[in-house]
Amino acid sequence: MARVPLLSSNAVWAVFTKEAVCESRTKYAVGALVMFALTALSSVSLAIAGVSLAPELAAALLWIVLFFCAMAGLARVFVQEQEAGTLLGLRLYATGQAVFWGKLLFNLVLLLGLTGIVAPLFTVFFGIEIWYWLPFVIVLLLGCVGMAAVATLTAAMVMYAQGKHAIFTVLTFPVLLPQFLSAINLTAKILSEDMPELSELMFMAGYDAAVVAAGILLFDYLWQE
């Protein structure tokens, strides 16, 4: 009649597509994200009116915009389930691992899509030339993986809390800080026409691996009673 479902790519894919379909029909998160990014970038660009930014400042600005976009949009995967009443059903019928991976992938795709809009806009608005495209893309990718992983975990933590969105940012920032600083550092290097070292990229990859591993181990404690 029934068998205990093991973690299957089917289930993960089902969660991912469900998120994608629901989001495409309601456009709950995407609108907020894109508007925030546009507002932030355009207002800074207008305010400095063509003056070129120091590489460190530009790098910090880029990652701040990405971070706050993430804070605006990535909590949705769990908070909305809780608010819509579907969380109980999900806890009943789905395994914790399938939910974690499916929502993590969705958050990652959302964030990468956003970065795909923000990064080009950033280079356009601030007149920035990027000599080393591949390292830049790699740094963006590694940074987004870290942000998506941490955000997915902390979103699962604030599901049951009061004042979910405020505390979401408060929780995510300290945990994400090492990756955030690395990303700013390496981006500043790239903008200064300097190549980041392989060890630094490995460090970022190591952080991502550690957080994802922590997620795999710890998520079930958040998911089950």
């Binding site: 579907t86 109980l88 009943l92």
Partner: protein, 204 residues
């Protein structure tokens, strides 16, 4: 598969407030047990404890399959229909059925999902978004989902709420069909006719 659920001295308190205590019950496959009690007596909570969604303050629930004690993942043998278990409003009825069955690892094609919708009286609405459904239709969809999943243990919390006479008949058929299939059914209700569906009753 020979199923038995043993509810052993379950109690639940929220902080200082005690909801219920010393609840004993045993349900075997092919039986229906009803749980009655006034509003706020904890019927829904009891069902959730048995499902494994809520931790009891005292006692334990054991699932025994083929005379072997089942490990803690008893939740995967459960199905629950309750007011707090909602469907995805941004998906259609059919998409909901396909999603929930896939999460349980059960294959269900679009045609089969459509069939389940029709059987529960949703007809063509299976293709519409659940956001457009009335409360009665949403209840029917929940019943269609549990029918599609067909778990060994059915936990039904006021399954006839929001349903018309036709719907209530469907619920009766659903319960009897599940019992005939040797599933264990637990029904929490205040409707006097439904209380009769069960072989035995607990009152909280």
């Amino acid at each position: 598969m020979d199923i038995r659920i043993v509810v052993d001295n379950i109690g639940k308190s929220f902080g200082e407030k005690r909801l219920f205590s010393n609840v004993f019950a045993e349900i075997a496959g092919g039986q229906c047990l009803t749980v009655t009690g006034c509003n706020g007596s904890g019927k829904s909570t009891l069902l959730k404890i048995i499902a494994g969604l809520v931790r009891p303050t005292a006692g334990q629930v054991k699932l025994i399959l083929d005379n072997r004690l089942c490990p803690k993942e008893r939740i995967y043998y459960m199905g629950l229909v309750a007011p707090e278990v909602s469907m995805y409003l941004a998906l259609t009825g059919i998409e909901n059925i396909i999603f929930w069955t896939k999460m349980r690892g059960i294959s269900c094609s679009k045609v089969e999902a459509e069939n389940f919708c029709r059987q529960m009286g949703l007809g063509k609405s299976g293709c519409d978004l659940v956001a457009t459904y009335s409360t009665g239709m949403r209840q029917r969809l929940k019943l269609a989902v549990i029918k599609a999943i067909n778990p060994p243990i059915w936990l039904l919390d006021e399954p006839s709420s929001n349903l018309d006479e036709g719907g209530k008949e469907l619920v009766k058929e659903l319960i009897f069909a599940a019992v005939a299939q040797k599933a264990a059914v637990m029904l929490a209700t205040n409707e006097s006719e439904e209380v009769m569906y069960g072989k035995s009753t607990i009152t909280l």
